[in-house]
Symmetry: C2
Subunit: 596 residues, 2 copies
């Protein structure tokens, strides 16, 4: 909160003789090659005293024409401007805070390279600015220490991943097209008009088909840092274009993919973020749902969901009895340590139970429970004094899901009260496996849709169920979860054309015409194969502790898909649409406004 007063002129070519010494540049880490400077503004130490240097940077601070503090992406350096009559220079008040504080550079020559108008906000990290302003002037926002750190870390992590895949394990980096054909059910795909009337490309949501075709092509191990597109309107924290680490291998099984990714993350993890232990723990989808009420559990803290049906089965309370008599009826609980939980968060399904400091249980349920039942309940949920136990009764999935949400909400409330539940520097990876292959359609539960995508291979033990009871088939799908966020997912794919055709046509009732080429490819000696995709934006965001993936993307779109800097998307001249044989269909109100 000290040096950064205003950003004015851009300066350059400060040179100076100081005192002694020389120093060794790290070979092959030379940020000063090819450019006008000989050192960065964050680099000089007492060891450099005596050297003549050339610095380039922005003026961070200027005082009485006697010294300036020059800034670049690496730090700050104080520059002394010799006076005709050398007056006593005041003590440099900044040196104790700057890493270069041991030295100052005496200017011999200086050149002003550019001027700067008054900026819409100051380049200091504590300056409060709205996100809209940051987005509008993104090129200024990127000057902040945090954005520089985020973008540089992202670059380094991706580079390490590439080394691991390409140099250590012979993966082939293959670029796949983004102007492609609509995929079945690709309702979220942007269309791109072509010069052939009525014909459109689609911007694919992932290189899924291409990576599988590369395996059919014998490429063996593919990866790509792939740009993907998804038009989701205004979902928060989504971007119309995003990046995934896209991987596919031949002759591989689930364990192979999991080990590969664990190794890759360990290899590429930044040192300053601590070591990560591999292998990662693994949990089945069913277990994740029963224990955490979600398929992306945050395992940084406990408060697991515990089944207490057996204790309450004979308690004479209508909502318990009704719930337990339903199919899949159950009563479950979570125990919130020291938890003063607001009643507001308890929904219909829920009953509260507070364990008083004197050991007494306070709960509307209390009078219906025997002492034995009470103590068994307390023992089962491992409640301590002053804990709150939340009970929910009803159908298994609903109960788990409700308690899962309450678990997260409670964690937030506890943390707001100052209890450190989740270490912000901890990274808890978790594999979630054995997902169902199909799920009932939300709008028409009689029909099935692919839980992930229609290319996922069934679990070998469940293959026979495909033809009798497909809803019971587990898929060879795996999700990677980090601190309660899904950061990747993948599967072993179907390599048998007949099976793929059966699933598309008979189970999913999809039109296979759009996938004709893929089915034909599977018939051409497709090897067994599988892969995964990691969401790079989210992974890096978690790594740097960002509040949104916009913090790790150089030029993100707003939540409405706008680029606030350039004002894209924008109107275009109807004439420019002519070669593409499209015209705008104006909504009635706008059409009127435009003709007026």
């Amino acid at each position: 909160a000290f040096l950064i007063i205003w950003l004015s002129q851009l300066c350059y070519n400060w040179e100076k003789h100081i005192l002694t010494f020389s120093f060794i540049l790290l070979c092959c880490l030379n940020v000063n090659s090819f450019v006008a400077r000989s050192k960065t503004c964050g680099e000089l130490r007492s060891a450099h005293i005596g050297q003549e240097v050339t610095l380039c940077g922005w003026i961070q601070y200027k005082r009485h024409e006697q010294f300036v503090v020059l800034r670049d992406f690496q730090g700050l350096t104080q520059i002394l401007i010799p006076q005709v009559e050398v007056s006593a220079i005041e003590n440099c008040f900044c040196s104790f805070l700057m890493q270069t504080g041991d030295i100052e550079v005496k200017a011999e020559t200086a050149e002003v390279l550019n001027y700067c108008k008054k900026l819409p906000f100051e380049i200091k990290d504590f300056t409060k600015k709205t996100e809209a302003l940051r987005m509008q002037y993104r090129y200024l926002d990127i000057r902040s220490i945090q954005m520089q750190y985020n973008l540089r870390l992202r670059s380094q992590v991706v580079m390490r991943m590439r080394e691991y895949l390409c140099n250590c394990y012979d993966f082939v980096d293959v670029e796949t097209p983004t102007l492609f054909k609509k995929t079945p059910g690709g309702a979220k795909e942007f269309v791109v008009p072509s010069r052939e009337a009525g014909k459109f490309y689609s911007l694919p949501q992932s290189p899924q088909q291409f990576k599988q075709l590369l395996m059919v092509g014998g490429l063996d191990r593919y990866f790509q840092v792939a740009r993907c597109y998804r038009d989701e309107g205004s979902k928060p924290d989504r971007q119309p274009e995003f990046t995934q680490i896209d991987i596919e291998m031949s002759f591989v099984d689930q364990d192979g993919i999991l080990a590969l990714i664990e190794g890759m993350l360990q290899y590429s993890w930044p040192k300053e973020k601590g070591l990560i232990k591999i292998p990662f723990p693994s949990i089945t989808y069913d277990e994740a749902l029963s224990t955490y009420g979600t398929d992306k559990p945050d395992t940084r803290f406990g408060m697991k969901i515990i089944d207490v049906s057996h204790i309450l089965r004979n308690v004479d309370v209508a909502f318990l009895q009704n719930s337990l008599s339903e199919p899949h009826g159950t009563v479950k609980a979570i125990c919130i340590p020291q938890g003063a939980v607001s009643e507001a968060i308890c929904g219909n399904l829920i009953s509260c139970l507070v364990l008083k400091p004197d050991g007494r249980m306070k709960s509307p349920l209390g009078k219906f429970l025997s002492e034995e039942q009470k103590s068994e309940l307390i023992r089962t949920v491992e409640a301590n004094m002053e804990d709150v136990v939340l009970l929910a009764a009803g159908q298994h999935k609903k109960v788990c899901s409700a308690l899962g949400k309450l678990r997260l909400k409670s964690a937030e409330l506890l943390e707001a009260k100052g209890l450190l539940l989740r270490d912000p520097s901890a990274f808890h990876f978790l594999w979630v496996v054995e997902f169902p292959l199909f799920l009932p359609k939300e709008k028409n539960p009689e029909e099935l849709e692919a839980a992930h995508h229609p290319f996922t291979a069934p679990h070998p033990l469940d293959e026979h169920l495909l033809y009798s009871d497909p809803s019971q088939v587990r898929g060879q799908h795996y999700d990677l979860v980090l601190n309660g966020n899904e950061i990747g997912g993948g599967s072993i794919r179907i390599h048998n054309a007949k099976q793929q055709r059966f699933i598309l046509e008979k189970v999913l009732k999809e039109d296979t015409e759009l996938l004709f080429h893929l089915l034909e490819a599977l018939e051409s000696g497709a090897p067994p194969h599988g892969g995964i995709a990691l969401g790079l934006d989210r992974l890096i965001c978690l790594l740097v502790g960002g509040s949104s993936i916009r913090d790790v993307i150089a030029f993100p779109k707003s939540f409405r898909g706008r680029d606030l800097m350039s004002n894209a998307p924008d109107y275009v001249d109807p004439q420019e649409l002519e070669p593409y044989h499209v015209q705008v269909t104006w909504p009635l109100t706008e059409a009127k406004a435009r003709t007026n």
Copy 2:
């Protein structure tokens, strides 16, 4: 031409005991990790005899159920299938040709993993197949040795470039958006309709604006392997999406960029392609035009353009006199060694001159020249016996351009006759510098347009001419040429907002509204900066000696922009266009056909 009979079943899990030995895997180069195989099909040697191995691959050849040859991306291995009654196995006729010929693997167990229908073409490199067929079944075409080599080499070269930029020189890999705003004059940009009526994104032709904004943002050194889009209809050997190595640096001058790129190419050049010498030679635009008649000279051979005006100035031939009296009038020549050049290639401007074995000159011009003029001409163009000298007279640029084309055409003719002019394994890099900053518009030569793009900085020595005679200003632009192909270009950019505004508004008469954000950024303390972009597809194509960039792209589009495998672009349901507020405007004939 031997083993590859047909591709049938996909096999896997062949296992076998052989004889002795062990061997050391290259650490961190482990193509067999995470998968079912323990060795590739190209890897086994006599040193492995005795080991038990698991191989996965495609059956390349099968004989009498006694042995199969298994293929993967690395090679072939012969598998012996033990017979119940071991008959005398015939000598393996393939071993002398296969790198794994010293061994054969005795199968212990085998599993057929997939079946293969009859393929549209055989997977052998000498099979002639049309490009359309290759494109339609690209996943089979990729199995060829050549495509495997091309894609793998591409991956490795790019990885080495990344190491150089990221690890050696601290460049930051930043991903920039592809859903952006139309750029001024961006007639070749695809549009992408958004959900806001009438508003469109554009797919940019390069990250030009973003890379400059990153420099304003203090990122210092940026690179990206960037996907770019250009809708050029049916230009041959262009792709609607292509890839460039995109680089930008702050506080850099032209020499800095040139040295960086030379170092990068040297560092990333595949060993098997020989060493490349740096620094690359450099030539000015004017010199390139005068000497080679083009701004992308193929310097692998001579036959330079030579000015002979001074010799022919006083020769009494009308076309010479007329030409020399024009402004910029000139007479120039190229000397074609042993050149029987078809008269058909000589246009209006040209006169031929053949030096006979007896030293006599045969030419329609002959009778007008004195003996002294003849011998001076022969000496100047360094003609030897049986050489052909082509003469052209007229306006400087036209003469050079015509002779430049004849030079290339003659080289082709000579090579067709069996003369090796251009070593196919030689790589001649050349920088072309000092381009004009502006060129007269083709349609309206009174107006100027940017020779490359409007952000190129003027040559420091010519800056004053901007305001008086802009057509004379040279730009700080540089092109990189390899064997006569432009493979990259870049410039030092304008960092002064006033100068940028003057050029856009006064010289180029562009609407600056579309660039408002960039001009505003330049006013915010933009550092001096510059950069370059290399066309990756073309570079790799030249490296592998491909005949088209389609040979180094996994899934290219046809020259009409079609994906022949998936049949993209394709018709879409009008309903799917509704959220984007566009409808198709059918050309009249098609509209009729569709209503019938």
